[in-house]
């Protein structure tokens, strides 16, 4: 059996006795079929939320940032919380598609396409916030180092916000190219199956004339590997740079050297939770239980458990360092976090992020669909609170008590956040109806080694 051999003790990654043709048919079904009622209901709700968000954004831009709950002490709140939250969510997609590719983890093939789609859609939401949080967003292009006629005006390369601009734009572009490269053979599969001329034309266009020649495949493999190599450092660098926004500042509670690894772990943590949220629904709705198996969900739960524990260690380290440093401001910042007026947010964060993933030590629970789904939602809530706690509780009581105050969100803050959730799901739902949501070409490449049909055959020949 040569390269197709895999030890029988490894559980198959593709179940349901699938042949190559079955894979094509299964993956093309959501695209070729019609949307059911549930899709329309969820889509309508998402679209309504999105439009509500658009309305709130228009109101903000036309009236002023004053429509948000910010004040002289708290200059960032839900805006940057949402920004960091969405960027963090994106990280799982890159980790799955790039890091797991380099580590030859074949189980990524069932989930990488949707995880990458999630990355891109999440980064789109994230990118929105730095733009609309500006007092004058129409001048947002000034953060780009482009030649200009304002004299010798240039950007400030000392500013972590500028590093963010480069980090996020690099991340979006590399992720997009990586995602699209992987999509080429799958789009070509849809093109070849398409019967309607218009559909055929569109898929022909987006598959960039993929012909399936050996040379195409060779280049495809090369490019995938190179892009994986490019994307891997991004998994670590993007959230590191995002954490620099805080770590390089002088605000107690922000000025912390632990932030880069802590943020990266948190990002992977929240990202895997979001992948679980999306795929648990998707595998049910699109009948992908044979491709996104219990094993996939279990492995993702393990990643959630491990990264959740890393984040927990980081939280405790922060408290320890505050005490051990002997810096009064630092000590107060963390005392205030845990026991001050925002203690409810801190303890929500602790419960959701540190306590809840520990249930995954129990095999029965991490192999339970409904429990995995609940934990994935809980983790996402917890990670939103983590960013809120870092941003708002550090700012609201910093050095001078004369400026201490509280933050309360307005309907616009809430509306924009809900709007981005709506926008995210609008994009994801459209994607689910028009894109090959499973990397079928890659899945086919492991079918002979990890598909249960072939595994059974090879076992019977032994």
């Amino acid at each position: 059996m040569g390269s197709h051999y895999e030890a029988p003790i490894r559980t198959p990654l593709v179940t349901g006795n699938k042949s190559y043709h079955d894979v094509s048919v299964d993956v093309a079904r959501p695209v070729e079929g019609r949307a059911n009622k549930h899709w329309w209901i969820v889509f309508s709700i998402s679209l309504a939320a999105f439009l509500w968000g658009v309305g709130c954004i228009i109101y903000t831009i036309s009236t002023g940032i004053g429509t948000w709950g910010l004040n002289k002490t708290i200059g960032w709140s839900w805006d940057i919380t949402n920004f960091v939250w969405w960027v963090g969510i994106g990280h799982a997609g890159t980790l799955i598609s790039a890091v797991l590719l380099l580590f030859r983890q074949k189980w990524r093939m069932g989930i990488n396409r949707s995880a990458e789609a999630m990355t891109i859609f999440a980064v789109v939401q994230a990118g929105l916030f730095p733009l609309i949080h500006m007092g004058r967003p129409w001048l947002g292009y000034w953060v780009l180092p482009i030649p200009n006629q304002f004299g010798s005006l240039w950007v400030n390369f000392n500013s972590p916000l500028l590093w963010d601009v480069f980090a996020i734009s690099t991340y979006l572009s590399v992720s997009l190219v990586f995602w699209w490269t992987g999509l080429l053979p799958d789009f070509a599969m849809l093109r070849d199956r398409a019967v309607k001329p218009f559909q055929k034309k569109i898929y022909a266009l987006v598959s960039f004339g993929w012909s399936g020649r050996a040379k195409d495949w060779q280049r495809f493999e090369e490019v995938s590997l190179v892009l994986a190599g490019l994307a891997t450092p991004l998994v670590l660098s993007v959230h590191t740079i995002v954490s620099f926004d805080f770590a390089t500042s002088i605000i107690p509670g922000w000025h912390t050297t632990i932030f880069p690894p802590y943020f990266v772990a948190g990002a992977v943590f929240s990202g895997f939770a979001m992948v679980n949220t999306l795929l648990i629904i998707m595998r049910k709705v699109c009948n992908f239980e044979d491709y996104i198996t219990m094993q996939h969900i279990e492995l993702m739960n393990l990643v959630i458990m491990i990264t959740g524990s890393i984040v927990g260690v980081a939280y405790i380290t922060e408290l320890f360092m505050a005490w051990y440093s002997g810096v009064e401001y630092e000590q107060y910042a963390f005392l205030n976090r845990a026991t001050g007026p925002y203690a409810w947010a801190y303890w929500s964060m602790m419960t959701c992020n540190v306590f809840s993933p520990q249930f995954m030590w129990i095999k029965k629970l991490r192999r339970s669909i409904i429990f995995s789904f609940i934990i994935s939602i809980v983790v996402n809530i917890g990670m939103w609170f983590e960013r809120f706690v870092i941003i708002v509780t550090s700012l609201h009581r910093d050095y001078l008590p004369s400026s201490w105050t509280m933050f309360s969100p307005t309907f616009v803050d809430i509306g924009i956040f809900i709007g981005t959730i709506g926008f995210f799901f609008v994009l994801f739902l459209l994607y689910a109806r028009t894109f090959p949501v499973i990397a079928q070409a890659e899945v086919k490449s492991i079918l002979k080694s990890s598909g249960d049909k072939y595994k059974k055959t090879s076992e019977s020949h032994e």
Binding site: G75, H133, G135, W142, L161, S249, Y329, D398, L400
Partner: protein
């Protein structure tokens, strides 16, 4: 928490009998296991440039003679076209003062009792309850007040974080805002230890929602033509009245002479309005000036000196003629 970093006060007896190190201690940091003052160049991240050429403006605020009357706040508003934003904005902590007067109340009978209470906090249980108690003022508290405006830090934390370099350092020591360049990320305000930066949350002029004399002809005639009216979405703050310091420099230039001794004195609207002489402004490169003496006075200190921002605003320790603080 860090009371001595913010308002320093002492009694007349201590002031007269003890060394300045006792009643005006300078913060130190450890470098290579040796304690050095935070103002020491060795504690510095930045390479210093020569500040001895040209003017270098400083503002001194004497906590002893400040009565907290608030004339400086009004003068600043009038001079710099700072909008009045109204009750509803103030309730949302959006007061638009470039210069404010901070008031602190003791939670025990006196501040010395507060410090004692704080120093006696031991263990988690007591810190959980007693820090909270320190937030509540006593029924008959001791009070201190302190005018705070942009400290014009020589090593300003706001300047490094602006992505478009809208805030930068002036050659004469000021931290300057280029309003036209500001895109309004508010990162500078977040990273300001003194929380002196003020954002234009709305269009405050020509706006019926904020009918406080900036949207009618008569009100507009009162605006200072030497200072811009800021628009929505930009950060603003104290400029050390650069329009008047520049006017002095230009006048001297026009008359073909150097700026006279103490000619800069009280060019800042706040120091000009200060009746008790608590605020003094001037050029510390003029070594005969009053401000030079004040800056090097043994009573002088910087607000939150330990951060290392090296402000160009100096405070003078408050000395009370009482038995205890």
């Amino acid at each position: 928490m860090g009371r001595g970093d913010i308002v320093k006060d002492t009694t007349l007896e201590v002031f007269n009998t003890k060394d300045a190190k006792v009643w005006n201690p300078k913060p130190h940091v450890s470098k290579d296991h040796v304690m050095i003052p935070t103002t020491d160049p060795g504690a510095d991240l930045w390479t210093e440039f020569d500040r001895s050429i040209g003017h270098h403006f400083n503002l001194s605020i004497d906590l002893n003679s400040c009565t907290g009357c608030g004339a400086c706040v009004i003068a600043c508003h009038a001079e710099n076209n700072v909008p009045v934003v109204g009750k509803s904005e103030v309730r949302r902590s959006r007061d638009m003062h470039w210069l404010r007067i901070d008031r602190y109340y003791s939670s025990q009978d006196s501040f010395i009792d507060d410090v004692e209470k704080k120093d006696n906090i031991a263990g988690l249980g007591s810190s959980l309850s007693e820090f909270g108690e320190l937030e509540n003022p006593a029924a008959n508290p001791q009070v201190v007040f302190q005018p705070v405006m942009c400290q014009h830090c020589n090593h300003a934390s706001c300047e490094t974080v602006c992505p478009v370099a809208a805030t930068s350092h002036g050659r004469q020591g000021q931290n300057q805002m280029a309003y036209n360049r500001c895109v309004g990320t508010r990162y500078c305000a977040n990273n300001c230890a003194y929380k002196v930066r003020r954002f234009n949350w709305f269009l405050y002029n020509d706006n019926d929602e904020f009918d406080f004399n900036m949207n009618n002809d008569l009100g507009k005639m009162v605006l200072n033509p030497d200072v811009v009216v800021r628009s929505r979405g930009v950060m603003e703050k104290c400029s050390m009245c650069i329009q008047t310091t520049q006017a002095v420099i230009l006048k001297a230039k026009r008359e073909g002479r150097p700026v006279k001794k103490d000619e800069f004195n009280d060019t800042c609207a706040c120091s000009n309005a200060c009746e008790s002489g608590a605020m003094r402004f001037g050029d510390i490169n003029d070594h005969d000036s009053e401000i030079f003496k004040l800056k090097n006075d043994k009573r002088s200190y910087h607000l939150l000196e330990h951060i290392g921002t090296e402000p160009n605003v100096v405070y003078q320790v408050k000395v009370r003629n009482t038995k205890e603080i």
